[in-house]
Amino acid sequence: MSDYAIIGKRMPRVDSRAKVMGKAKFTADLKLPGMLVGKIKRSPYAHARILNIDTSKAEALPGVKSVVTGKDTEGVKWGVFAYTRDQEFIQTQKVRYIGDEVAGVAAVDEETALKALDLIEVTYEELPAVFDSMEAMASETELIHGDFPNNINVHVNIDTGNVDENFKKAHYIREDTFVAPEESYFQAEPYAIVARFDHEDCLEIWCPNGGPHMKSKPLSNAFKIPLHKVKVRKIAIGGAFGGRSEICPVDYICALLAKKTKKPVRIQFTREENTIATRQGHAMITTHKTGVDKDGRVLARETTCYMDGGAYSSTGPIATSVPFLSMEQAYRMGSVRYNGYRIYTNKPIRGMIRTHGRGFAAGLDTQLDMIAEHIGIDPVEIRLRNSRQPGEYTSTKSYVDSCAMDETIHKAVEKSRFKEKWGKLPPLHGIGIGTNSVQTGFPMGIRGGSQSFIKFNEDGEATVMSGVVDNGQGNDNMLVQIAAEELGLLPEDIHLVSADTETTSSDPGSYSQVSTFVGGHAVKIAAQNCRAKLFKVASKVLKVSPDKLVAQNRLIFVRDDPEKSIPIKKVVRISLLNFNSVNAEGGYWPKVDMKREWVKNPYGQMCEAFSFGTTIVEVKVDPNTGQVEVLEATAAQDVGYALNPLVLEGQFEGSIAMGGQGGMLTEYHEWNGGRCINPTMLDYKLPLACDMPPKINNIIVESVDPKGPYGAKEAGMSIAMSAAQAYSAAVSNAIGVYMDSFPLTPDKILAAIKSKES
């Protein structure tokens, strides 16, 4: 596998030069001629009926170009699935959380737009509100959405059968409940949108997005215009972490203002708006009941999770499933019953997040550690006895092909010297292990595949077109690396046109770790098809059969006789002189079970490959302050194949930061009557450079997936999740108390130490 010229090398990213120079343009950097400033009027109430909206004073203010309300939206609603369309783009009847959109304004400048917001008079009738998922289910006051009894938005039920019988056979059974509040993405870039209608009445729109094609379809539906008339443009994106996955109502409002004013409109979210009015992570209450045999092998598990979904459905059915799926992929469960409930509350809308289900996963792992202690084995052993093996099926019937879960455990254990340290560390020092698995995509019907086009220019350089979007993780570089490798060019010879719905084919987007596996794969196939055309021409010139040729470093040469060569540029020109252009297409559609559906049929092949990761963390706890000092973190992931170790290590380290350091020690939202009281970076504690562990060991494990491009699966997500589990395990180990409420803030740690002492 090591004879690649570009793949597998530590290659600086192609987009980094523009970014270090400050030349990369993000949405808020765009300035179009005549552009107006848009602002959003938001609800001050968590739950209220809208009785009247009077915009006349705002409209009369000089400089105001348009004011839009729900009356202008023609009642269109948003929801990821047909059965979850519960959110009007601008509310007409009720507001359901503090921050819900009630009106939009476009004006000549920001000051005028803000003044206009104050002049919009909304009359509300306040309604009783609920801010907790358990209260919301029991509430007898007005439902948040009339057609969802008990405020239950989504119920996912998975049952493999034999659960009750297997519990009866169990040697030891435990039932424990774990809780974690909401967390947020805090992408570096606050959300922003620029929209305009061009001379052909096409909507042109720029905004951070997890998939441009996933923005264009709902916008085409909402404006009742054909798909080709919605041009979602490529723009630099300052992080997503799951929080840019769907259309945002303000995308629509911005476009509506542009339509009404016939001018470009830019809306920039404040930091508070980015926290409150995009998406957040779900608060979760998770109960795991686990029965094991005398060796600690899980025979039966029953998991029930209540997720606080906030005011609207968002990605609800997906979000309700994924925390369970990650665990059923990571561990064999014997038999399992899962009930996931997503509950409406009068709080901001919850979606998918990189550390989705941190309390769910950390709870399951904590309970495994408890069981291990009970039966007298260590945390490594119980994981090895239950870890996923290659060639197995998950509980929901996904075949697991490549899987090096055990290798990630062994290597992380060896590097961290876990076995030497376990049980032998000084007081208040602890070490903990977490293991997890994530999927590379899920069934997305007609949007599950990606297609790429490649054309050669007469100078021997190539243009690659792909719908894959780069949220900051390095997808652009991944596509360029693959194209350069296959075409025999250098990365600087590849011109990438991507993430633009006018010019690129549909792509599933940057969700669920799918970009390399599907989008990268499509580019690889297109490039191979293109190379075959080059080889056909070159074989005539070099007088050897095409299968004896190699393309590398801008040359095509004979494998066994490298002196015999011809520049690729020359091959292109010969082809053109023979009336043939050099271009090709290629696509990749993962073979998933199209009948699998989140609620109705949660069984069948989920995706073609899964990544597996292990994190081990060593900590020291200060018993006077409750502060946790992380001494060392070790991250090992089965990535399939490492396309670019430099990028991959950055993903591992970023995952330790968000999943462990922030996710398990400091990050959570606080509330007062449905109002988030820490929406800013001063109050919500994100890890800083000085907070990070002094040492992070990155271990890349390669199982070389038979279906992934070059064997690649995904990079880093299994670390983000397992880091949360490892941090919690290490702190529990340090203080000798199994923690069940996350994140592990100093107050909780001090209380746990105190309760142990008494």
């Binding site: 990213r13 400050g22 570096a188 404040t270 930091r271 290590e649 950055g650 930061a657 450079a689």
Partner: protein, 159 residues
Amino acid sequence: MATNISFILNGDEISYEVKDHWTLSHLLREEMGLIGTKEGCGNGECGACTVIVDKLAVNSCLYLAIEVEGKIVETIEGLASTSGALHPIQQSFVKNGGIQCGFCSPGMIMSSKALLDKNPDANHEEIKHALAGNICRCTGYVQILESVEAVKNMGGQNE
């Protein structure tokens, strides 16, 4: 209210009529089109808008434009040479993977420059301290810290 101010911006003498309530980031981004300075919060929390004023790294979103009268201002646009050769800190961030999404990068690089201009031999702890006001959500800071440390060994040459 508007005031005419003079200052040095990336080596050039500038005279500009600014409104008294404008922040430096507003002047740079919205009025002068220098969009390399990013605005991530507008409240001095994230450091994305960091520029250097009289050798000190400051949050330009909290710094009033009229306050730069008579001062020397450096932004990310002033680092590379006019021919496009990158400053050693920029080179190092590219080479060592110090960027991911790139939104925090200009601020991160300006904070690093303010430090290294003053203390070219800054140690690991001093670098972490100097970057404590710059939030990165992608990298976990490891490759950023490595990028800044590696500058020491580059001899201060533009590429």
